[in-house]
């Protein structure tokens, strides 16, 4: 019968995919395992040999100051003060955020948690 033929045909292809698929899945994970077992240690060893001196980049360059306090560092100090105030502002913000978080979201129909605060 036609149908049976097709049906058996499908099953046939199914068995092929079963064997093929399993083989490939095994192969894939075997390859990955082999890479980490054998190839990677060699690669890391070679990498170690070729990179002896570490590269320097702009961020690693230490910002050296001359330690002596002179009138000339006024600008620097004022910048520092500015940064300090900024910092305070940042922590203020943090506190604000915590408060906000308590207050929760509100877009109309939603400031429900906020209502508990007015009783405190």
């Amino acid at each position: 019968m036609m149908f049976t033929k097709l049906y058996i045909d499908q099953l046939d292809e199914g068995y092929v995919i079963l064997i093929t698929g399993l083989t490939i899945v095994f192969f894939a994970l075997l390859l990955l395992a082999a890479f980490f077992k054998f190839a990677l240690p060699v690669m890391l060893y070679i990498y170690k040999i070729i990179t002896k001196g570490r590269d320097k980049k702009i961020k690693d360059i230490p910002i050296e100051t001359d330690k002596r306090f002179t009138g000339e560092v006024a600008a620097a100090i004022s910048t520092a003060i500015h940064l300090y105030l900024k910092e305070q502002h940042d922590s203020e913000n943090a506190v604000l955020t915590i408060k906000q978080a308590r207050k929760m979201y509100s877009p109309w129909s939603s400031k429900i948690y906020g209502t508990h605060q007015s009783l405190k």
């Binding site: 978080a101 929760m104 979201y105 877009p107 129909s109 400031k111 429900i112 948690y113 209502t115």
Partner: protein, 439 residues
């Protein structure tokens, strides 16, 4: 000035190294010369003239050349929204995004460059998609569900009726809009302003008054999403101004003094069952409200299940924030002057004001009506009926403040929360009903 020449010298040097690179022009050989005549004409002009013409041409693209009075008025309104949000803390999480959106939407531009929110292909248009298709509102409801505590409602279920009574504002406004000549779907969308719920208003208007649907008589409904959303949000921000006089008018001093007994404690089991039962009962009655109510109760279940706190937390913080930002700025931007400044918008604003008044009255009077059947310490303080309009939690706060004015020790806040949150459910149910009749 010599530095300028130096700069140009450098450029000239750099661009003239092209032949050194040995490039041929093959890649552009395929061009055909369609603009020859224009070229020859312009070849006569001096270079300075050309540049001046360029600036003149560019001026035609600028906002200065294209600004209309409407744009300037709307930008001013946007600034006022931002000012109200910052200065008076009136719902800043929406007034500031919407206000900025109004400014963005009214920067004058030359059409055809994919700039405006109504131009297909523009970034704003893509973000606006979530408004037009009603996708943002259910996501906002998810977050609202994940942050709302329905305890007060569970403890005192009969207060839910106050949230139902306030929906008279919705239906009365609907009728009013019909009187003013809007057709049925438009009137339905306008009515929902009385629900005092931004996401519900956007959801319903995106379904009924979206400028796309076609009526039986062949006309296309108007796109009223912008005016309806702006009206709804504006009046909700103004609840502390609108409600107190009505409350004083409709209640006696003796009524305002009524003390209600504290709500009972609610078990975690009840809190878990609430979203499931609520979802089933309300959406069986009003299936068209499924996107809103389904998400609202889903969010609440995430919150109350005790096992999905992580998801509830995301839903009520980062997720709702992202949607709020996008919703706010695009709803604001949809107020582009040429489509927004119409008589329709004015009428919608008028109807909106009335709807808040009626909704407040409906809640208040129904509380007094319920008192006819309640006795002793069961009696309600009618003020809490006003919280049924939703506008959570501002109207509950207003009720509390009015109660305090009458008796400094009468804490109505927890009691007012029940009609307040049931007002949200009530107007979502009402939206579903209207959608079923007119969708």
């Amino acid at each position: 000035m010599k530095k300028i020449f130096l700069i140009f010298g450098v450029i000239t040097m750099l661009v003239s190294i092209r032949p050194v690179l040995g490039l041929n022009m093959s890649s552009s050989n395929s061009m055909t010369s369609t603009t020859v005549s224009q070229t020859e004409a312009s070849a006569e002009d001096s270079f300075v003239d050309e540049a001046f013409n360029g600036i003149k041409q560019f001026y035609q693209y600028t906002g200065f050349a294209n600004a209309t009075g409407g744009n300037l008025i709307m930008i001013l309104i946007g600034i006022i929204f931002i000012y109200l949000g910052i200065k008076f803390d009136y719902e800043p999480l929406l007034l500031i995004p919407i206000g900025t959106g109004i400014m963005i939407g009214n920067i004058p531009f030359v059409p055809g460059f994919q700039t405006g929110i109504y131009e297909s292909g523009s970034v704003l248009n893509y973000l606006y998609f979530g408004v037009v298709k009603g996708i943002y509102p259910p996501l906002i409801f998810l977050g609202i569900g994940a942050m709302t505590d329905f305890s007060s409602l569970i403890a005192n279920p009969k207060l839910m009726l106050l949230g139902a009574a306030a929906q008279i504002g919705v239906f009365a406004t609907f009728l009013g809009a019909l009187y003013l000549g809007f057709n049925l779907p438009e009137a339905g969308a306008i009515g929902i302003i009385g629900g005092a719920d931004g996401p519900t208003a956007i959801f319903l208007s995106s379904k009924l008054a979206n400028g796309i649907n076609i009526l039986p008589d062949g006309t296309t409904v108007k796109n009223l999403i912008g005016p309806i959303a702006i009206a709804a949000y504006s009046y909700m921000a103004l609840v502390p101004v609108i409600q107190p006089p009505i409350m004083k008018l409709l209640t006696s001093k003796r009524e305002r003094l009524i003390r209600m007994k504290p709500p009972r404690a609610v078990s975690q089991k009840e809190k878990m069952i609430f979203p499931i039962a609520g979802l089933l009962l309300t959406t069986f009655i009003s299936p068209s409200a499924l996107p809103l109510l389904g998400m609202l109760f889903f969010g609440n279940l995430l919150k109350e299940s005790g096992r999905t706190e992580r998801l509830a937390d995301t839903a009520r913080t980062k997720m709702i924030d992202i949607v709020t930002i996008l919703l706010g700025v695009t709803v604001g931007a949809s107020t582009q002057a040429n489509v927004f400044i119409t008589k329709d918008s004015l009428m919608i604003f008028g109807l909106g004001a009335i709807s808040f008044v009626i909704a407040t009255m409906g809640g208040l009077l129904f509380a007094k009506f319920m008192n006819l059947f309640l006795k002793g310490e069961e009696k309600l303080n009618p003020l809490i009926g006003a919280a049924g309009v939703s506008a959570v939690p501002d109207s509950a706060r207003v009720v509390h403040a009015e109660g305090i004015k009458a008796d400094p020790n009468n804490y109505l806040l927890m009691h007012a929360m029940a009609p307040n949150v049931s007002g949200v459910i009530g107007s979502a149910v009402a939206a579903g009903i209207i959608l079923s009749f007119l969708g």
